[in-house]
């Protein structure tokens, strides 16, 4: 009786594993099947030889880095100051961070297209530099929940209040405290938020497409419509990137100090 | 079922015989024998990690003994599931169901037993009154204080009129004040209901003050099972002596086995009760309770001289530490307004009644 239960459990788990592995296996097999006479890496070779691949991927990577930079600069001081000196602002910040859940990317970018159209006061969509800025802002919005959570738990774990009090007693100025004491101590959290952001942003489609940016997500989509085997190779690559980024997040989690409750 | 065994132990509410429990290769409970009479309040006392919880969990049915048998009211329950044993249990963490009100928690066992709603209500009201929580029926666990939660848990455990009540360190998570009052309340309720109770604790004061009998455990074994008085005054082993209460130990050398005289630091003591089989020149340890020592030199007692190193004030009791030779001795004296305690650095005489000393062979 107990044995059958146990067997049943493993069967259920195996079904689950199959559901999640089949798409990966199929795609991998597909990506290797470009030649009729056996498996080959030709699909990957073609992908890497495509100048659009190089340009779109590096464009998206660059945008992702900008997103991470802007996001960090916006989030870290805010979370720190709200935690220590402006606790009454906390509910407002929490609400703002939740906004992306209620306003999905497509609506946000719709708003951008309207508000910053070439006939508006700030005609950002008129130039490609302006559109890049809009894309970065959109991605920062997407990344906000991840970055905020990561930094907030990080600050809680190092007991930022005590560190700050100690540093203040020793005569450190606020800017020095943030850059020399707080930031190095929550580097692990910031990095894991950054990797998560990278994974989310690198193959994002809707915003890039509606802002007509030459990004990686729309590129995959275009290739997918036109070709058979190359998109499979691109999927494997993109899965590999996501996996690496998330793997790094997991590894970083091991290095972060255990969460200590700051209040109560 | 073994009829001979069951008739012989007919008046035992709980009988453990030869119970051994291994986790992997590690023997956590070693050959345990224990017999509890109906209506008794028994404490299982021991340091943390000695296997108390494991014993309780085996009685409850959450773990099965590797070997040995557990009889409840003469019935062998060793292999029964927890829900077939009709026991009540109170956990250190309260373990109240967070999705149910206090009343629903107390009534849960009755509902499972398919009792009629009206009867459940009556019984729940009765139980909440017993633990002094009338009026809090509709509160949820997160709306109750720790002490209140534990009383709900007690009511829940008792609602089904179980054959026996098991408590695993029920007071450890509570504040000192509540711990004291709840301790008394538990004992009162137990006496009122006359229910056989097994109370696990690592707090010797709890065990001694509440129980009819105490089982002192050490690394999986029961070292002594007896009344609080016996445990305290006549500890059976060195472990029991040192774990229960405070002991001061003096090194001594045996001078004469016949007259019971030994040499301690600066003095010679006479008329000690010695264990068998000692010879002249043996090294001994003399252990003594803090309250068995008096200040001043009294005739007939062993008299020693020492220097006071510290004085601690505990309300009704004053605890003085002093050095005799190389040994530190702890003395408790009542805080009567007449006496003034000695001060640090002072040299004082102390007297010890030889009969209150435990003499052991030195390690």
């Amino acid at each position: 009786m107990i044995k059958t239960m146990h067997l049943l459990r493993w069967i259920c788990l195996s079904l689950g594993v199959a559901f999640f592995l089949m798409p990966l296996i199929s795609t991998a097999k597909f990506s290797l099947s470009l030649r009729r006479d056996g498996y080959s890496l030709d699909a990957y070779r073609y992908v890497f030889a495509d100048p659009d691949f190089i340009s779109s991927f590096s464009y998206s990577a660059l945008i992702a880095l900008c997103t991470i930079f802007v996001g960090t600069v916006l989030v870290v001081p805010t979370v720190y100051l709200v935690r220590l000196r402006l606790p009454w602002l906390r509910p407002v910040v929490e609400f703002i961070v939740l906004l992306p859940l209620i306003v999905p990317p497509i609506i946000l970018v719709f708003g951008y297209v309207r508000m910053f159209s070439s006939s508006s006061l700030i005609p950002l969509t008129g130039t490609s530099r302006g559109s890049d800025i809009l894309l970065i802002c959109g991605y920062v919005t997407l990344a906000l929940p991840y970055l905020y959570r990561a930094v907030d738990t990080g600050l809680q774990a190092i007991n930022a209040r005590v560190l700050t009090e100690a540093a203040t007693i020793l005569g450190a100025r606020p800017i020095t405290i943030i850059t020399r004491i707080i930031l190095p101590n929550i580097m692990v959290s910031v990095l894991s938020g950054a990797f998560l952001t990278f994974a989310v942003v690198i193959s994002e489609f809707v915003m890039a497409s509606l802002l007509t940016r030459p990004a990686f997500g729309p590129y995959i989509q275009r290739v997918g419509v036109a070709k058979a085997y190359e998109p499979a190779a691109l999927v494997i690559l993109s899965f590999f990137i996501t996996w690496t980024a998330m793997g790094l997040v997991q590894i970083l989690a091991r290095f972060s100090p255990p969460v200590r409750r700051e209040s109560k | 079922m073994n009829l001979v065994a069951s008739s012989a132990k007919a008046n035992a509410a709980l009988h453990l015989s030869g119970v051994i429990k291994r986790f992997g290769g590690h023997e956590v409970v070693r050959n345990l024998d224990l017999e509890v009479r109906k209506g008794e309040f028994i404490s299982v006392l021991g340091p943390s990690g000695c296997g108390k919880t494991t014993v309780l969990r085996m009685i409850a049915g959450f773990e099965y003994p590797t070997t040995g048998r557990i009889l409840i009211d003469g019935r062998d329950v060793s292999r029964l599931r927890p829900d077939q044993r009709n026991l009540g249990m109170v956990f250190q963490s309260y373990a109240l169901f967070p999705n149910m009100s206090a009343a629903a928690n107390v009534g849960f066992g009755l509902k499972i037993a398919a009792m009629a709603d009206r009867d459940i209500q009556r019984r729940v009201a009765e139980m909440l009154e017993l633990v002094g929580l009338t009026g809090l029926e509709r509160r949820f666990p997160y709306e109750l204080s720790g002490g209140q939660q534990q009383r709900v848990a007690l009511a829940r455990a008792l609602a089904k009129k179980p054959a026996m009540l098991l408590l695993d360190e029920p007071l450890s998570a509570l504040d000192a004040k509540i711990r004291l009052s709840l301790r008394e309340q538990i004992r009162e309720i137990q006496t009122e209901l006359g229910i056989t109770t097994l109370f696990v604790t690592h707090d010797q004061e709890e065990a001694l003050s509440m129980s009819d009998r105490v089982a002192v455990m050490n690394s999986g074994r029961v070292e002594q099972f007896g009344t609080p008085l016996e445990i305290y005054n006549r500890p059976a082993t060195r472990f029991v002596a040192s774990f229960v209460g405070t002991l001061s130990v003096l090194k001594a050398t045996l001078l004469d086995p016949a007259s019971g005289s030994v040499e301690v630091a600066t003095a010679t003591l006479k008329n000690l009760e010695l264990p068998q089989g000692l010879a002249r020149g043996d090294h001994l340890s003399l252990a003594v309770r803090p309250e068995a020592i008096r200040f001043g030199a009294r005739k007939g007692d062993a008299i020693l001289r020492g220097k006071v190193t510290g004085v601690g004030f505990y309300g009704s009791v004053i605890r003085v530490r002093l050095i005799v030779g190389n040994e530190t001795i702890t003395i408790d004296t009542f805080n009567t307004q007449l006496s003034s305690p000695p001060s640090r650095g002072q040299d004082v005489d102390i007297s010890i009644d030889p009969k209150s000393m435990f003499v052991m062979r030195a390690e």
């Binding site: 703002i96 919005t141 997918g224 | 249990m89 956990f91 999705n99």
Partner: protein
């Protein structure tokens, strides 16, 4: 390298509390009012960029869009846009979106809960558990265009599994009515991220089920089934409903997967909106705004349910 412990640098929170020193965050209401008058200006300047960003890049575009929904093409205030939304195409899109979100949310929550219970409780292996959790962390972020093409390679007309089923059972699933670029095809594809999201949210809740509760129930006479019926599932219920709402919102707002998989073949709200933004298919700019507002309302509703239920779940499991 482990972070050095720093608590000994200064008084712990508890000590501070015991000494009766109140911290700024814990001032009683009356004192807070006077604290408001002495605003911490330097700190406010520090958080200003964040709030300006939120205002300009998040709130303003959304509010402007919502305002547009109440304006006609000449700029007059009107509710006509909502009346104009009442076309078969739009109502059909909402119906299909809600059906799709509901189906993928319910299936994702049920299967995900089963998987989480199985891994968290049934198979008592910490290794299996940690592998599953890591994988779910990745899979819940693996959506959009790549996911769509992975499923094309699997269950598309030439997909590996499609071919395998044909070879093994002689069934052509496409002849039998299945189509990846259809309602059920999308639902199955969405499950690839809906299930892992459920697992990552429900696992902590399942861990929150304490062994004591199970034991207390069993010693009170409850069978394993009765434990789940009266205690286990009721405790998980708020988290599960909350997850359901989150999954619903998640798939309601998702477009990349659906677009890559079906193009414009499936009529759901985000794809309709996408087409509208690209080419004004509704022939009225402000109709698009009204469509967006409808979407925001559905999403806000679902997320409000999620947040309320999460609060309740946390209160219980504290």
């Amino acid at each position: 390298m482990r972070m050095p412990r720093r608590t000994e640098v200064s008084l712990s929170e508890k000590e501070v509390a015991e000494l009766g020193i109140s911290k700024p965050s814990e001032l009683p209401i009356t004192q807070r009012a006077s604290a408001l008058r002495r605003l911490d200006w330097s700190a406010l300047i520090g958080v200003a960029p964040f709030f300006i960003f939120a205002l300009v890049m998040m709130v303003a575009p959304t509010v402007a869009l919502i305002a547009n929904a109440f304006v006609d093409q000449q700029g007059h205030l009107t509710f006509g846009n909502f009346a104009d939304l009442n076309t078969p195409e739009v109502t059909g899109a909402f119906a299909e979106s809600i059906r799709l979100s509901a189906a993928s949310a319910v299936l994702g929550a049920v299967i995900g809960l089963g998987l989480a219970l199985n891994v968290g409780r049934g198979i008592g292996s910490t290794q299996v558990r940690s592998i599953v959790m890591t994988f779910c962390g990745v899979a819940s972020n693996f959506s959009g265009v790549p996911l769509a093409f992975a499923f094309v390679a699997t269950l598309g007309r030439l997909g590996l599994v499609t071919a395998a089923i044909k070879a093994a059972f002689g069934i052509d699933i496409y002849a039998a009515g299945f189509d990846l670029a259809s309602f059920w095809g999308l639902t199955v594809t969405y499950l690839f991220f809906q299930i892992p999201i459920t697992v990552t949210i429900m696992m902590p809740a399942i861990d929150g089920l304490r062994r004591d509760w199970r034991e207390a129930a069993s010693i009170l006479g409850a069978s394993s089934w009765q434990y789940w019926r009266h205690i286990g599932l009721p405790i998980l219920w708020p988290s599960l409903l909350g997850t359901l709402a989150l999954l619903f919102a998640n798939s309601f707002g998702a477009i990349a997967t659906a677009y890559a998989l079906t193009g414009y073949a499936v009529n759901i709200v985000p794809i309709l909106l996408y087409a509208q933004i690209r080419g004004d298919v509704l022939h009225n700019e402000n109709l698009g705004a009204a469509l967006a507002l409808g979407m925001i309302i559905v999403m806000a509703f679902a997320n409000a349910i999620y947040l309320v239920l999460r609060t309740r779940a946390e209160r219980w499991l504290r």
